[in-house]
Each structure stands twice: as structure tokens, then as C-alpha cells.
């Protein structure tokens, strides 16, 4: 049992991942912050399959794949509907009303994993998991269009062991649109002014000093760090074809097993790497 996460050694550990297939409605109806080229569904699916394949095949996680729901065009972005930390899962109340129903399927799957489930029932609260950055020591919650103070409070009440600090997010959809954890003590951060400002805020709020990995592209700063027993530090990051400069930065991480993953299609609808999965670390009970 990893009390309080068992420290940094346990950060990034996971046994399960929850993902969800993408619905066809995504192409036309998914929410997007900027209009742009249409999503190539076939390509998007290929990319997503590759993504899931890495988790399941390469990393050996137990991947629980939820079926797509055509009435929920954004349902592939499972990250936003649940925040799981240790054995507790907070089912969120997504900021976009059209996404609220996405929670239901997630709830079922998390229940099946015997997690302590906390639901956000307060109608004044909104929280997207994309705004929640867990560093292993504390939470940062972006206050964005999708996440409000009340939502952050509920998160704080749910994960009482940890400090929960709020970070204003103005120019992007989510806090994790420009940052993520790239290692136990390492924050990957984009170079934009907004990203840097947010990083400063986080640094000020924290009792802890994090290392930072600055990448030229904000979108590339969203990567997935996992600590897989047989593989060590694993980092899923955006492919060099997409963000060559940022990829070079990641390639300097010598201790990490680097896995480039393309995400060109979902990015059109504000999807990033972390958006498509929820990781769970079930201690091997039984």
C-alpha cells in the first residue's frame, strides 16, 4: 500500500488504463476552440489505436476500453471526466454541459475497479480533468472556462492528503494544454507566455521545487509519463513529425523510454495525449 503515493518512487505507477473509442460524431460535433480543418476520422482512429496499442501491448497495461457513444462527440477524451489518485476517483462535472453524460460510463468502469468513487454533485461546480495536474506531491488545478473554483474545492476535499493550488488559465482550453508531468519531479512546460506564467504561479505556490522541461511547442508539452516496473521511466510524447523541435528536447531525456505518438487529428479538436486516458494504479490485491 502506498500511503500518500509512497513518495516519488511510486509516481507514474499504473496497472490499468481507461480509454474510450471515438465516435463518428466527433468529426463534426466535437467541441473545438478554434475552427479548422475537419478531423480525418479514419486517421484519427488509426492514431488512437496506435495509442491504445502502446498502452496495452508495449507497456502491458490492462486497458479498459469503453465503447463510443455517438451522442457524446467528445467522449474519447476520458481524462476530463475522472481524476484518479491512488485508490480514490473523483468523477467530475465537466465544464461543457454536452459532456456531462460522459461520466456515466466512466463511473461504471471505475466502480468495477473497486476504487473509492467520489462524485461531484454540486451544480455550481465544474471541473475538467484536463485542468488537473497531479505532480505526485500536490495538485494544481487550472481555473479555466471549464473548471471553476468550486470544482477545485471539491477536488481538494476529495484528495485531502494533498495541497491543491489553483492556477489561472486564460489562453488555452486546459491547464494541461501546455504542461504535464514528464517525470517524477519534472514538469514539461510550453514556451508560450501563458505557459510560462502559469509555471511561475505553480512554482510560487509550491513548497517543492520542480525541475522543468521547456519545449518550444505548448501542445508538445502535454506528454504522458508512466513508471512501468519492467520498463522504468516511460514517456509518451508527440511525434517528431508533428513537433520536431519539441521532440528533440524530449530526446535528451536519457533515462526515459521514449515513445513518440502522433496525435494530429484529435489535436484539431483540442485533444492532447493525456486527454485520451485515465490511469489507475491498483495495488496487486488478490
Amino acid at each position: 500500500m502506498a500511503g500518500l503515493g509512497g513518495g516519488l518512487a511510486a509516481f507514474g505507477r499504473c496497472t490499468h488504463a481507461v480509454v474510450r473509442a471515438l465516435p463518428e460524431s466527433l468529426c463534426r460535433q466535437a467541441l473545438r476552440s478554434v475552427a479548422g480543418p475537419e478531423v480525418d476520422l479514419a486517421r484519427a482512429e488509426r492514431e488512437h489505436q496506435l495509442y491504445v496499442g502502446v498502452l496495452r501491448g508495449k507497456l502491458g497495461l490492462q486497458v479498459l476500453e469503453l465503447p463510443a457513444d455517438e451522442s457524446l462527440p467528445d467522449c474519447v477524451f476520458v481524462e476530463d471526466v475522472a481524476v484518479v489518485c491512488e485508490e480514490t476517483a473523483l468523477l467530475t462535472r465537466p465544464g461543457a454541459p454536452s459532456r456531462r453524460k460522459e461520466v456515466e460510463a466512466m463511473k461504471r468502469v471505475l466502480e468495477s475497479l473497486n476504487l473509492n468513487i467520489v462524485e461531484m454533485v454540486d451544480e455550481n461546480a465544474t471541473l475538467d480533468g484536463g485542468d488537473v495536474l497531479f505532480t505526485g506531491r500536490e495538485f494544481f488545478v487550472g481555473l479555466s472556462k471549464r473548471t471553476n473554483q468550486r470544482g477545485a474545492e471539491i477536488l481538494a476535499d476529495t484528495f485531502k492528503d494533498y495541497a491543491v493550488s489553483t492556477v489561472p488559465v486564460h489562453d488555452s482550453l486546459h491547464l494541461k494544454s501546455f504542461c504535464s508531468m514528464a517525470g517524477p519531479n519534472l514538469i514539461a512546460i510550453g514556451s508560450s507566455e501563458a505557459a510560462q506564467k502559469a509555471l511561475k504561479t505553480m512554482q510560487q505556490m509550491s513548497d517543492h521545487r520542480y525541475d522543468k522541461l521547456t519545449v518550444p511547442d505548448d501542445a508538445a508539452a502535454n506528454c504522458i509519463y508512466l513508471n512501468i516496473p519492467s520498463k522504468g521511466h516511460v514517456l509518451l510524447h508527440r511525434a517528431p513529425e508533428e513537433y520536431p523541435e519539441s521532440a528533440k528536447v524530449f530526446e535528451k531525456l536519457k533515462d526515459h523510454m521514449l515513445i513518440p505518438i502522433a496525435n494530429t487529428e484529435l489535436e484539431k479538436v483540442d485533444g492532447s495525449l493525456t486527454c485520451c486516458s485515465v490511469f489507475i494504479n491498483k495495488a496487486s490485491e488478490l
Binding site: L4, E87, N116, E153, A156, D161, A163, V164, T201, D207
Partner: protein
């Protein structure tokens, strides 16, 4: 010592009265031979044995005092702050050395015994002690009056004292009505030390109850006037706890408001009329408990954390509750035993505020997995997990931000955290904080400008009330000192503000306590772990804190002093106390230096110097066993003084290394650390020097104070027998009221640059803070040189440059009069000449007017935003609440100044002495530099007069200058700076 002070009879001149009185004493004392002293000692010793003579003697001084004081109290004295009154009583008493001694027999006697041990110590110290005692008495009396109306009848001896005290007390009360700030002078504080420990007379005792962490209660009898340290030491002894610096005693004003008992102050002055019930708690949560030396310390920390968890103060998740609970079980019950531990064995324990069956099952399940862990290991595991909780060690205070939104301020090892609901919305690490202050119910922090920002911002919070603001401020000061500094900071010597708390953390810092802990050499003490069971039972599930409260309430209901005051045979008590620890005896010596000073009738400065000195000592001895016991730096220092303290005249010589020599290895090691500190300070000081040149006068003092710690007393005392400003003597007496309205604290950082910044801001702060409408600063800088024999180190001192800076402020007219008195008749700046007589560098040049600048812009931007995230968005454009108009006029003697300031000599010592009286603050800053084989001493004096426009500032200035000249006849005045501030806008009154 100047004796020009005319009317001692006038009440307003209290502060000067001290001077003359002392002056009188001095010859008197000086003439006394060692034999005399002995005989005295004997006589007082007799007094100790048989209290018979004491009463008689006592009555005489007190009655005289009464005579004098009562008329006074009707006059102007009503307007005087309480400490002045005390001073008065001091003054009056002073001349009557002999009787006085008896009157104060209790302490005296003990003192005697110690002094006998140190045959050589000059008797002067006695008088000083008496003086302080006197003050002490006054305070004590005051307190008694307030809190113990049911005091029993006392022996006539006591009566006499009591009455005299009450006299003072009454005045004091009047004072408080005036809402004047009062402060405690350090000397007084130091004195307090002895009182409880050495009283060979009949003492009144009070029964104290202390709620311990394991839910048991410890009670003991304490002398009524005992300092907090005495009780704390007893409790720690009872607990067999050596690493005690992390702990403290709490008393509750009500269920919400807990206060830390200040070790260095008398208990009854702090708790007032509250019952003598305390709670032993962790005060500073060690960020890494594994660094504690002893298991028993960790055990108590565990107990505290269990309480914190059960009460909800330390929130944790279900899983963590279960995990921590399982370690608790392992520690207290050992391995899980299916036979012994039936299914509900867990229900007896309380692990969480809302304990569920599910949780208990989880706890039991986890308990099984800890098989094999020893209790100590289980505790360690408990702590390893608990320390990661985000609210571990965070002391929360309710507040509102500038917009009236409810927030919480959390003080912790790393700084100040701001929470809104459960969310952290901002954080200010200690290094980021330049200043912490409070005023009325407002609490302010001034933060360093962020990158790319130009201005510091001041962030204000509204606390529920004044006491809450002060409490928060104190906790901040203590946490900052404990966790950030190597050694405690010296309490400010009044600085330029007349108002404000002088509170400083006086215990050991974490660095010091760790060092001391390394020296703990005893087999791990045996102790039983049974608490959580007991706790849960006694609390019946209720949070610990709450139950404490109810206890308190019950107790008070039953009659506050339930235990009642007992009169105990003093002899026995006294002996017992002496036995209690060697440290007490160790402490006694520390009085030596101070006593000497006073007795000699040396100026205040010297007296203060001695204090500074002792401070230094304290640092050196921190790790020593008794140092630990001594509550305040000063006391500790004094304690070590024993060997080193030479009789008056020679004392300078032995100072430097003195403390270490006699002391244990422990002391030495700690001394090393201190050295580091000293060096650092000197460096700071150097910088400060450069600052002297420019306008940021006010800022300087702060730094100077720091530097002061470093400086060796020798310089001061030897330098000038002449003496310091008589008004400065006021500093020796003063009191602290628990109700100061404002306090400020500059977190003292190690980085030099930080210091500078801090200084520069002071000026701004001043303005903001001052209530007074009119402020005039007069800086007079006499400079002179005279050959000085240098006894200390290799430096040959040839000239001394004294620089005086005088800043004067008056709030009431009386004040200005006082200053005038000090200053003398001369009124014109031109008269500032050098009086330097002896030196080769004789500069007899009348100062020239060098500059007249106006206004030295000091508008501070005041930003009140508590949310970090917002802060970045908002630029600081607002002007401080209080606008002041300032004018600065500098008169300088052309030749000297550059020489004095610009030349880069080697700093030998620096020291700052501050004294204050009603509304004047005198800060004397003495620095000694060696430049090319020539030693130069600069004395910079600043007198701040605060008051109405009616004050004749010119006259005040003239007098200040004259006084400066008279006090340092051998020095010349090189610079006079008059700085006048006028408040333009009324400050918002609460």
C-alpha cells in the same frame, strides 16, 4: 554622564531622571570597596535567612515611593505610558540602594549566593538588578492587580511591595486607556529570569495544570511570578523530553483562540485572569521528523499528530487515516494477534474525526501487514506518512482578504500559505517576505518584487480582531526565526518607531536545537505508549482540542485560581528551585554584566551594550545544556557570562572568547555556528555603512541592530566612559503591554542584498505606520576622535569618531519637553562643534548646511491582493494609506563626513542601541572601524519625536545636538540631518 538635566522633579522628564539618578549612584557605588560589597551580600543574605529585617526596610522605600509617585500620577504622568511610570519607580528606588535591596530580598538573596560564588563580580550589578527588579515588581504588581483580585493576605513585606506596585499599576492602567503602546525593555525581560527561580522568601505559588499529549494531566506549583520557561522546563522534565524546542505550552482564551506561552515572560502577565491551565503541544513541526534524535521526541510528535488528525486540524484521506491508524496500532499494541485482538479491539482507538466501520476494518487489515515493526519503527513510519500531508505543521488563522473574502492564513516552516476554502491560492515563502507587520486588526506582509516587477507590494489581511492579528504576527516571527535563521534575532531596540511590539522568538532555532540534539548522550529513555487509547476514551470521540477547552472552562468555573495561592516557606521553595537544575545557577551569572553597567551609572548605552553582549553569548552557548533552559537569548547569554564577566572596569577585556572557555564542548561547537552568523552580520553591516550616506536613514537601523549582535561590548563600554544619552536610559525601563497595536518584523535573511532592501523600505514603512501627525527627525552627528586604549584584539585604536543621529518624535507636548531636557539649552545647529579634544584629527569645524532635500519620495505602493494568481495581473499603482510630507535637511561638517563614511576601513564592531520613552525613540548606532591603523568610532544617534505641530522642533533639534555634544565631548559632530514628516491624510481608523 551629563548632569545638566534640571528638574528631576518634573514628571515629564522621567527618562532623564534615570540619568541623573544613575549618575548619583555611580559615584556612590564606585566608592564602595569590595569589602562593602561583601558585607552587603551578607546582609542581604541574612535577610534571606530571616525575613524579619526585610519588611522594615522594604516599607521605607515603598512608602517613599508612594509619596513621590502619587502626586505625579495626578499630573502629567497620566499621559505617560506605563513603562515610563515603571521607570519612575525605578528612578526613585534607585537612590535607596540599601533598603531597596532588602525589599527585593527574594531575588536578591539568591543572587547573592551566586555572586558569592563569583567573588570578583562587581557589586554594581546588584543595583542594576534591583532596578530591574523594581520594574519587575511594578509589572508584576500590575498583573496581580488585574488578574488576582483574590490575592491572599501577604506578609507585611509583600504588602509594601504590592502597594508600591499597585501604584504603578494604576498609572499603567491609565496609560492603557490612552492606548499608548508600551514595550518591554530587554533588561526587564532578562531580569524576569531570576525572579521565579531564586526567591528565598515566602513566595506565593499557584497550582498549574498542564494537559499533556497523552491525555494525562500534569500539575505543579509555580511561583506566581514564574516565567513561562520555568513551567515549560518542569513539564519537559516530567516528560523526560530533551528535544524540547519543538514544543510549547498553550493557553486558551476561549475555545478558538490559543496562545503560546512566552517562555521569557511571566506567566501571569500572559494569561491574565485565565486559569493556570496549559496544554503541552508541538509548536514547530519538524519538516523531517526522521532527523529528530530521540524516539521519545518522535513519540510526542506522533501523539500531537494523532490529536491533530482526530480533531480534523490535519485533514487526510480515508486511506491515509487507515494507514496512520494502523501504524498507531502497531506502535501501541505491537503485532496483530488474532487471539488477543478481537474484532472490535480497534474501536477503542480513535483514528479519524469520523471513524467508520469500514475504516476500522481497513486499519485492522493494514495492521496485520506491519508485523515485526517495533513501536519506534511504527512511529517513524507514521511520521513519514504524516509529514507529507499538505497541512502538516500548518498553523491556520482565519482572516479576510482585501475584498472581505474569508480566507485562511497558514503559517508553516516554509512561509505563509493563503487558503480560500480548501484551496491554496497563494504562498509566500519566507525569503520572499521582506516584512511582517500588524496594526490593529490588520496583518501585513511586504513581499519582494517578483521578477520584472519594480515595486514591492504590501499585502494586507484583516484578522477578526487585534489580538488575532498580533497572534498571527507572533507565530510568523517565531516560525521564521525557528526555521530560517541560525540563531534567534535580537529583539529590536525600539528602532525608530515608538509603537510596536518588540516581540521576538527567543528560543533556539531549529538549527540550534538540531545541533544540541546531536549531543544528546543518554540511553534511549523508556516510556510507555498508551495514549491513543486513553485519548479516545477521555475524549469520547471528541477532538482533543475541544475537550481541552471544556476542561479549561470547567476549571475556571470552579474558580479561577482553584489551586489558590499558597504561601510556601520560601526557604524550602527556593532551595528546591535551585536544585532544579544547574542551569538556574548558570543563569545567574548573566546578570553580572548588566548589573555592572547600571551600577556604574554608565549610560544607558552601556547597559544596552551589555545586553547585546549577552545576546552574543547566547548564541555561543546555545547548545549548552543550560542555554537550552534559558528562555531568552539574553538570559542564556548571561548565564554563560559567569566566568567571563569581569568586574566592571575590566570587563571588556575578557569578553570576546569568554563564553566558550568555561563552557562545555557543546557550547564550543555551537559557537562555531555562531561565528558564521557573526561574520555574516558584519558583512551586512558593512553594507549598511554605505547606506548611511544616502537618505535611507531609517532603514539603517534595522540592519544596525543585526550588526549589533555581532559587536563586542568592549568597545562601547571602554570607548566612552562619558556616557550615553540620558534619554536612552529610558530604554532600560519599559514594559510591554500585551496590547501593542502594531508590530513589525523583518525577516532576517542571510543574503546581504536582502538586508539592504529591507532597510530601504523601512522609511516607507515608517510613514505608513505612524499615527502621529508630525515627525521630526533630527540627526546630529558629532564626530570626534580620541585616543583609546584598545584592550580587545590587536587593533590599536587611535581615534574615535562618534556620530550621533538623533531622531525625535513627540506625540504629546510633554514628550518634546523631555527631549529638550535631554538636549539642553542650546538651540542652534551651528553650535555643533567638535568637541574632540584628544585626537590628532581634531576637527573643529562648524557643520555646514549641505543639503536640503524635500520630499524624499517614499510613496509605497500598497497592493492588497491575496490571490497570487490575480496579483500578477494587477499592477501596483496605489499610494499608501498614509501620505506624509517629508523634508530632510542635512547639515554636515564637510571634511569629516566623507572620511567617516566613504573610506573603506575594516569594521571592527558595530552596535545599535535603541531606547525609547514616551514618544521618542533614540537609536544609537555605534560602529568601530579601523582604517589604516587608525580606529574610528562613529556614533550615530537618531531621535524620533512624534507629536503635534505645537512642538518646537527647532528647539528640540538644538537640544538634541547639544546633548549629543555633551555626551561625547571628545567627539565632533559631523552631520546633522533633520527629517520632518507630516502626515497629510488621516489614516483610516480601523
Amino acid at each position: 554622564m551629563t548632569t545638566e538635566v534640571g528638574s528631576e522633579t518634573e514628571v515629564k522628564k522621567d527618562s532623564e531622571q534615570l540619568g541623573p539618578d544613575k549618575a548619583k549612584d555611580k559615584p556612590e557605588e564606585a566608592s564602595e570597596t569590595p569589602g562593602d560589597q561583601k558585607s552587603r551580600e551578607t546582609s542581604s543574605g541574612e535577610a534571606q535567612d530571616s525575613s524579619v529585617p526585610a519588611p522594615t526596610n522594604q516599607s521605607s522605600p515603598s512608602s517613599q515611593k508612594k509619596e513621590k509617585s502619587s502626586p505625579e500620577s495626578k499630573g502629567i504622568s497620566r499621559f505617560l505610558p506605563p513603562w515610563l511610570k515603571k521607570q519612575k519607580s525605578y528612578t526613585l528606588a534607585e537612590p535607596k540602594d540599601e533598603p531597596k535591596k532588602k525589599a527585593t530580598g527574594e531575588e536578591q538573596v539568591v543572587e547573592e549566593s551566586e555572586s558569592q560564588a563569583l567573588e570578583g563580580v562587581a557589586q554594581p550589578r546588584k543595583s542594576l538588578e534591583e532596578a530591574t527588579e523594581n520594574r519587575q515588581n511594578a509589572k508584576a504588581g500590575d498583573r496581580e492587580k488585574h488578574s488576582i483580585s483574590s490575592a491572599e493576605i501577604q506578609p507585611s513585606k509583600e504588602d509594601g511591595k504590592e502597594t508600591e506596585v499597585e501604584e504603578v499599576a494604576e498609572k499603567k492602567e491609565e496609560k492603557q486607556e490612552e492606548k499608548r503602546e508600551t514595550k518591554e525593555v530587554q533588561t526587564a525581560e532578562i531580569k524576569i529570569d531570576n525572579i521565579p527561580q531564586k526567591s528565598p522568601k515566602k513566595i506565593k505559588t499557584v497550582q498549574c495544570k498542564v494537559m499533556l499529549l497523552d491525555g494525562t494531566e500534569y500539575s505543579c506549583d509555580l511561583e506566581k511570578r514564574a516565567r513561562g520557561q520555568v513551567l515549560f522546563d518542569k513539564v519537559c522534565e516530567h516528560l523526560n523530553l530533551l528535544e524540547k524546542d519543538y514544543f510549547g505550552l498553550l493557553f486558551y482564551e476561549n475555545s478558538e483562540q490559543k496562545n503560546w506561552l512566552d517562555s521569557s515572560k511571566e506567566i501571569k502577565r500572559q494569561i491574565r485572569s485565565l486559569p493556570w491551565i496549559f496544554t503541552f503541544n508541538v509548536k514547530f513541526y519538524p519538516p523531517d521528523p526522521s532527523q529528530l534524535t530521540e524516539d521519545i521526541t518522535r513519540y510526542f510528535l506522533c501523539l500531537q499528530l494523532r490529536q491533530d488528525i482526530v480533531s480534523g486540524r490535519l485533514p487526510c484521506s480515508f486511506v491515509t487515516h487507515a494507514l496512520l491508524g494502523s501504524y498507531t496500532l502497531q506502535a501501541e499494541l505491537g503485532d496483530h494477534d488474532p487471539e488477543e485482538h478481537s474484532s472490535d479491539y480497534i474501536s477503542e482507538f480513535q483514528f479519524a474525526p469520523n471513524q467508520t466501520q469500514e475504516m476500522e476494518e481497513k486499519v485492522a487489515e493494514l495492521h496485520k501487514t506491519h508485523r515485526g515493526l517495533t513501536p519506534a519503527q511504527a512511529d517513524s513510519q507514521f511520521l513519514e506518512n504524516a509529514k507529507r500531508l499538505s497541512m502538516y505543521g500548518v498553523d491556520l488563522h482565519h482572516a479576510k482578504d482585501s475584498e472581505g473574502v474569508d480566507i485562511m492564513l497558514g503559517v508553516c516552516a516554509n512561509g505563509l500559505l493563503i487558503y480560500k476554502d480548501r484551496l491554496r491560492i497563494n504562498r509566500f515563502a519566507w525569503p520572499k517576505i521582506l516584512k511582517i507587520s500588524y496594526k490593529r486588526s490588520n496583518f501585513y506582509i511586504k513581499v519582494r518584487p517578483a521578477e520584472l516587477e519594480q515595486f514591492e507590494s504590501t499585502i494586507g489581511f484583516k484578522l477578526p480582531n487585534h489580538r488575532a492579528a498580533k497572534r498571527l504576527w507572533k507565530v510568523c516571527v517565531e516560525h521564521h526565526t525557528f526555521f530560517r535563521l541560525l540563531s534567534p534575532e535580537q529583539p529590536p531596540k525600539a528602532k525608530f518607531l515608538t509603537l510596536g511590539s518588540k516581540f521576538r522568538y527567543s528560543g533556539r532555532t531549529q538549527a540550534q536545537t538540531r545541533q544540541a540534539s546531536n549531543l544528546i548522550d543518554r540511553p534511549a529513555p523508556y516510556f510507555e505508549r498508551t495514549s491513543s487509547k486513553r485519548v479516545s476514551r477521555s475524549l469520547d470521540g471528541a477532538p482533543m482540542g475541544i475537550s481541552d477547552q471544556s476542561l479549561v472552562r470547567d476549571f475556571s468555573a470552579t474558580g479561577g485560581q482553584a489551586a489558590g495561592d499558597k504561601i510556601i516557606d520560601l526557604e524550602a521553595a527556593g532551595r528546591a528551585k535551585l536544585k532544579e537544575g544547574g542551569r538556574e545557577e548558570d543563569e545567574s551569572p548573566l546578570k553580572t554584566p548588566q548589573l555592572e553597567f547600571t551600577q556604574d551609572g554608565k549610560s544607558l548605552e552601556e547597559e544596552i551594550a551589555s545586553i547585546l553582549f549577552s545576546k552574543e553569548r547566547f548564541g555561543a552557548g546555545t547548545s549548552g545544556p543550560f542555554a537550552a533552559a534559558s528562555p531568552g537569548p539574553a538570559e542564556g547569554a548571561a548565564g554563560e557570562q559567569t566566568g567571563a564577566a569581569a568586574p566592571g572596569p575590566q570587563r571588556h577585556a575578557s569578553r570576546a572568547e569568554g563564553p566558550c572557555t568555561g563552557v562545555s564542548d557543546a557550547d564550543k561547537s555551537s559557537h562555531e555556528t555562531l561565528d558564521i552568523v557573526e561574520e555574516k552580520k558584519q558583512a551586512e553591516f558593512g553594507i549598511e555603512e554605505t547606506l548611511v550616506v544616502d537618505e535611507t536613514n531609517k532603514g539603517k537601523m534595522q540592519v544596525a541592530t543585526d550588526a549589533g549582535e555581532t559587536c563586542k561590548v568592549e568597545h562601547v563600554s571602554k570607548k566612552d566612559s562619558s556616557s550615553l544619552p540620558s534619554d536612552s536610559s529610558s530604554s532600560s525601563s519599559s514594559s510591554e503591554s500585551e496590547d501593542e497595536e502594531v508590530g513589525e518584523y523583518h525577516p532576517h535573511h542571510r543574503a546581504i542584498e536582502e538586508v539592504i532592501r529591507e532597510e530601504q523600505e523601512d522609511e516607507e514603512d515608517m510613514k505608513r505606520k505612524e499615527h502621529e501627525e508630525n515627525t521630526q527627525h533630527v540627526e546630529a552627528i558629532p564626530e570626534g576622535s580620541k585616543p583609546v586604549p584598545v584592550e580587545h584584539t590587536q587593533v590599536t585604536v587611535e581615534d574615535l569618531v562618534h556620530e550621533n543621529t538623533i531622531t525625535v518624535a513627540t506625540e504629546e507636548k510633554n514628550l518634546s519637553e523631555q527631549i529638550k531636557q535631554d538636549v539642553g539649552e542650546e538651540k542652534e545647529e551651528e553650535q555643533l562643534k567638535l568637541n574632540g579634544d584628544v585626537s590628532h584629527v581634531d576637527i573643529d569645524v562648524a557643520p555646514q548646511l549641505i543639503c536640503c532635500s524635500e520630499p524624499p519620495v517614499v510613496k509605497t505602493e500598497m497592493v492588497t491582493i491575496s490571490d497570487a494568481t490575480q496579483r500578477t495581473e494587477i499592477s501596483t499603482k496605489e499610494i499608501p494609506i498614509v501620505q506624509t510630507e517629508t523634508k530632510t535637511i542635512t547639515y554636515e561638517s564637510s571634511q569629516l563626513d566623507g572620511n567617516a563614511v566613504g573610506d573603506t576601513g575594516v569594521l571592527v564592531s558595530a552596535q545599535t542601541i535603541t531606547s525609547e520613552s514616551i514618544s521618542t525613540t533614540t537609536t544609537t548606532h555605534i560602529t568601530k572601524m579601523v582604517k589604516g591603523g587608525v580606529s574610528e568610532t562613529r556614533i550615530e544617534k537618531r531621535i524620533v519625536i512624534t507629536g503635534d505641530a505645537d512642538i518646537d522642533h527647532d528647539e528640540a533639534l538644538a537640544q538634541a545636538i547639544k546633548e549629543a555634544k555633551e555626551q561625547h565631548p571628545d567627539m565632533s559632530v559631523t552631520r546633522v540631518v533633520v527629517h520632518k514628516e507630516t502626515e497629510l491624510a488621516e489614516e483610516d481608523e480601523d
